[in-house]
Amino acid sequence: MADEAYALPGNISIETYLDQDKIIEIAKKSNSEAIHPGYGFLSENAHFAQRVQKSGLVFIGPNSQSIKMMGDKTAARQLMIKNNVPVIPGTTSAVTDYKEAENIAQNIGFPVLIKAAAGGGGKGMRIVENMEMLQEALDGAAREAQSAFGDASVYIEKYLLNPRHIEFQILSDGKGNTIHLGERECSIQRRHQKVIEESPSVVLDDELRKQMGEAAINAALACNYKNAGTIEFLLDQDNNFYFLEMNTRLQVEHPVTELVSGLDLVREQILIAAGQEMTLSNSLECFWGHALECRLYAEDPQNGFAPSPGRLSFLQPADGPGIREDSGVTQNSEISLYYDPMISKLIAWGSNRDQAVQRMIRALKEYEIQGIKTNISYLIKILEHDQFKTGNLSTSFIQDFENLLLDSKQKEIDLFALAAALYKNEPNNNHHLNNSIKNDSNGSSWKYNHRRLNMRSR
């Protein structure tokens, strides 16, 4: 059990969660046998995985070669092609020269996507619609890639119109057993950051699930994978699927798989790392109900989704039937500028998709948070959208309905106006009213209370 805590001194991530020396030193000092790298920071760092192993500790994750093979997106592509896993048309090596980029874009045709070769999580990524946009997009992607991953190289591929993002959870014990735990659909994304994830996907039937599951297992075998990993695919409107990338770690959205499979994925990871047997030996073919996850971000949808750091002056998280919350904050927590804006993950389970969605909407509506802006109302509007309810999703969903999702109905505006007017007239909030009561010769507290009570009854 992880029941000891050691502080990581420092402010920015380079001084804390990215400082390999500090982390390994603490692990040794505490007599730990293994390090679980989580799902950010050093979790996909091959060098760190290797250092952990060399220092006599166990890295709970794949070996460093697998991380390296899949971490270089260009090499991963080539490996997939060799192993008959379908990929999207595009470059097979990193692009460094503008002229070269121009030729490639011309060849595969706009729109094209520029991606950081070393990346993930939407950093260093740009969609380019035409030649005029290419230069700025290349520069921006390279800069973001440099600052996020320390490597400015990018590659270019064909951008698919309105695809779905479908990923498969893989578990491999490193002793010949590689299974999948079904899919997660993560089509609801904003600027390539996932916002809502669910399992299972409404679009996969048993046959397609079998095909994609096999391709996912092939991908894992190709890099000699061990432990938990995820193969991400894009699925086009004709149900063709293409390998996007492999995440050689636990994913942020792993809870939805846990709820529909009944497994604890972190526990499975530890079992595998300890050389013990996995709970399941066959791939998952049917799911228990339906699960959704919403990522709560400290950002302001009304102001271009600008980050919204600050102190949580009030926090009353949601609970209730079928609700799980994986949160990193409490009341009075300070949300700093230095880390990712994700503050919590709300997960809902239902016996079917409709029930899971209804439970999620209720939980979001009851989630009370003050001191920072969040995307909660935005999430509610997505979940209440007809197209979401019918499961008609694509990675361009948010872009297509952006304006609709930010609009308020007149009835809501009236509510806010009325609420503010009532608040201002509360005796404690209106100094003018307070004074007049004080100075009133008849100003008995009887009259004052009577007035307050009447205010409520009307």
Binding site: A298, P309, E368, S377, E412, F416, L418, L422, R456
Partner: protein, 170 residues
């Protein structure tokens, strides 16, 4: 007595009624039936037209900030007299030709694309603010000339901190 609520670019008018010590607000044609109860310092329960709302309030710069189901609006509430005084005393739109571009978010200035005296077109990138691991491009609000750059690359800025002084070309 009228009460005005300014919200999201529109003004909503309420009629305040104080009959027989009974206070009510009327919105549009019908009297708003409500039950408004304080739960916590800035937390209230409102029942309006048979629906229940949990609301949070805060105040800043003369506005009341109301939050409901994760959504927040700034509302300015004024009585008839307050509104009349403000309408009379409000200054005419000041000379628009000089303007100061402020940081819309706190962050780190990671790149400055402009120099003093440079002419920029509307929408042209001026500088990049990095926050929470994402790049945010600050663009020119209009076609103008850069008269002063108030920040340096690598500098951390607070929200609303002046970044650039611009002179419009009009």
């Amino acid at each position: 007595m009228k009460l005005f609520a300014e919200i999201d670019g529109q003004t909503i008018t309420f009629i305040e009624r104080n009959n027989d010590e009974r206070y009510s607000l009327i919105l549009g044609d019908s009297a708003a039936e409500y039950d408004f109860v304080q739960l916590d310092e800035n937390r209230y329960s409102l029942i309006w037209e048979n629906r229940s709302y949990l609301l949070h309030f805060s105040r800043k710069d003369g506005n009341i900030f109301v939050t409901h189901e994760g959504q927040q609006y700034a509302v300015k509430i004024e009585t008839e007299r307050e509104k009349r005084i403000r309408d009379l005393t409000s200054v005419k739109e000041s000379d628009q030709r000089d303007m100061i571009l402020k940081a819309p978010i706190p962050g780190l200035v990671s790149k400055i694309d402009i120099a003093v005296d440079q002419e920029v077109n509307k929408g042209e990138p001026l500088l990049i603010l990095e926050a929470m691991k994402m790049e945010n491009i600050i663009k020119a609000p209009c076609s103008c000339r850069v008269s002063e750059i108030l920040v340096k690359t690598g500098q951390n800025v607070e929200q609303d901190m002046p970044l650039v002084k611009l002179k419009s070309n009009i």
